[in-house]
Amino acid sequence: MMPSKFDVLDPILNTPVRLAIMSVLLKLKQADFNTLMEVTETTQGNMSHQLKKLSEEEYIAVEKTFKGSYPLTICKITPKGRKAFETYVCSIKQYLHL
């Protein structure tokens, strides 16, 4: 199979929902599951799946706690995730000649 022109872009970040999650976490110090779902306009199942992937890559830290008696998932970007995001943005800027 011919390699795609955009293979050099981080495959973990180069998908719509994961990139949107990382963008939110770059702007916010922390964000809960519902906020991320609202901003990225995705489903609960898909959000869980994408968060797991980002967490496995250590791009985000996921903290599970409780708000009253309800479970609360709080996500924060990690230094590794921030670095990866910066690299990703630099790469797409190069592609776009910005």
């Binding site: 955009f6 949107a20 906020t35 995705t42 609360l72 797409i92």
Partner: protein, 206 residues
Amino acid sequence: MYHKLDYIWNVKRNIDVRIGDEKRLTPLEGMDVIMATLHKTNANNEDSAFRFILWGALISLASFLYFFLQPHTTWYFIPFPFLVFAGVLVTVANERKVSLAGARSYLQFFLSRMWLVLGISFGSVVFISVSQGYVPFTYTLLLAAIGTLVSGVIIEFRPLIISGVLLLSAAIGSIYIPDSYKSLLHGVAIGGGYLIPGYLLKNRKL
């Protein structure tokens, strides 16, 4: 028949969404996703508004009580420690609530820590002034002006900037009035300078 078609359409849509989520973006699409998401991610200023309203109400009330009690008792200062203590308890409880609220911006975090530092400075200024036999209101107004002005500039909210300038003017003006009236000026300045922009901020449309 309709339900069956509807079901098939929904299944197809879900599959499309799944494929779409895993699809690789072009650089331009990537840039669009980042820009759109950053644009959609708004930090609310609810906890800042709460802080201004709470402390505006407590400090102005304490200042007015101080002013009216002054001619009648030597314990005229007592509203301050009680109301400040109540304010600290409510603020700590609110901070815990906010930290569990889920989303919190770096801006909100910075402002909460700045006010924490200013709060400690308020306490220190009062202690130093009282120990040296001065009335502390000029300096507390100055600290209030710094916090309000910085908050206003950072969140780009004009009423807070105006309040900060007015509090600064009140701090300077306070050196020209007798000590016995400084608490009255303090109450008016903090009441107006915190409460009005606090309510405006609470009702601000993002």
